[in-house]
Assembly symmetry: C2
Homo-oligomer: 249 residues x 2
């Protein structure tokens, strides 16, 4: 992210808002050194949350956490750890890995995740995982990457699917304004609501209940669709639903 050409953050304003009231449990982000995971970590830390960046390599995770502290100031509550260590640290665990790494990562996480935790899966089965086009979606035997995740997590861990349509590039630049929706699917409304509360802490993101976990297969298809739109319109498009009521949850 360093040297990405983003306009430098205005250092006259405090970067960490006084949101101690929002301060909750630590938020582990497995795959937090990748573009999406890093952007999510940056935005959640900026919103005053405690974030634990996970990576296969604990050193790389700590290095990524350092880059966020460099941006936000030493008051930012971000640390790095090996994926399994990270995943054990909070009740709601984000999984932001490429599809080709999802299955292996979930196998490793079996010893870390425990009953009652929520796993927020952001994986998209792009054909790019098998050297195909990023505008194409692979067929997943379980129906979607999210349903594959639900099949692989330990008993009692609930999977919620979200964050497929937010541009990692946009998330990763604090000066880039967000104004879009995040479609959230899952089989437990309370679980979805808890995830929506966290996502809603990021300014400009509106979480929307999009249905049961099986609907994740349709939401995952939005990523290759947006990539196709982006190629033709030279942008990083996001999605917004029209006609929704003010009160969503």
């Amino acid at each position: 992210m360093k040297g990405s050409g983003a306009r430098p953050i205005d250092d006259r304003a405090p970067l960490l808002p006084d949101r101690a009231a929002l301060q909750g449990e630590p938020i582990p982000i497995v795959g937090g050194t990748g573009a999406l995971g890093f952007g999510l970590a940056l935005r959640l830390a900026h919103a005053g949350q405690t974030v634990v960046i996970g990576s296969r390599d604990g050193g790389r995770a700590e290095e990524a956490a350092g880059r966020i502290r460099d941006q936000l100031g030493s008051g930012a509550r971000v640390s790095g750890a090996e994926n399994c260590d990270a995943a054990a640290r909070g009740p709601i665990v984000f999984l932001a890995v490429p599809f080709r790494a999802q299955s292996e990562t979930l196998t490793n996480l079996k010893r870390a995740l425990t009953e009652g935790q929520i796993l927020v899966d952001a994986t998209v089965p792009l054909a790019a995982a098998v050297s195909g086009k990023a505008t194409r979606l692979l067929g997943v035997p379980q129906g979607s990457a999210a349903e594959q995740a639900q099949e692989m997590v330990p008993a009692g861990v609930k999977v919620v699917s979200a964050l497929h349509t937010v541009s990692a590039a946009t998330l990763g630049k604090l000066d880039a304004e967000l104004d879009e929706d995040v479609l959230v699917t899952g089989d437990g409304k309370q679980d979805k609501r808890r995830v929506a509360e966290l996502i809603g802490l990021i300014a400009g993101l509106r979480p929307v209940n999009a249905g049961a976990l099986e609907t994740a297969r349709l939401v995952e298809g939005l990523t290759p669709l947006l990539i196709s739109v982006n190629i033709r319109n030279k942008t990083h498009a996001g999605i917004k639903l029209t006609g929704l009521p003010d009160e969503l949850w």
Copy 2:
């Protein structure tokens, strides 16, 4: 549509804008007595276009055309005809039938469609076609309903796919304001542009180039996804992309 509870149209204002300059070739709408086709016919006629509503039953088509003239005034250029008669009347033919009728309709249209015409397919393979849920998408052997259409039309007829995310209920009420995008896919950019020009005549609809025809399978998935969102949020949601440039075509 009669007695649908919509607020009566304000009869003090002229319903047909003076858009003679926009007046082009007739626009056939196969399946124009269904909710989506009827709404499309109403909006295009309201925009000053000449519309030919098609139906398996020419009498029902003429009856639907009469309902539009009742709403817009006798100056509205809307007529009705049997599907094949309608389809032969203009260069850009809209197909708005339920998926269960798509294949049979296209078989019948083989004798009507000719080289150089564009068929705008709006079909969505909802599982409802086989008495399943409207929140589920069927697998289509060709990849999508649009690709099935491309396989079935006579040689030289080009398929463009569009209009999957616009609520038929909203289209069918002239006093309901539209403010959403229409994702257009197809293999010829010029064909997509011609279709986009027609769709763009409807106030509040912004056509967006979403890629090749094979991308239609991802766009068709938006319909069951929106139905899932609608069920949970009691609305008729539409879709809008964020971050697009002003100049789209």
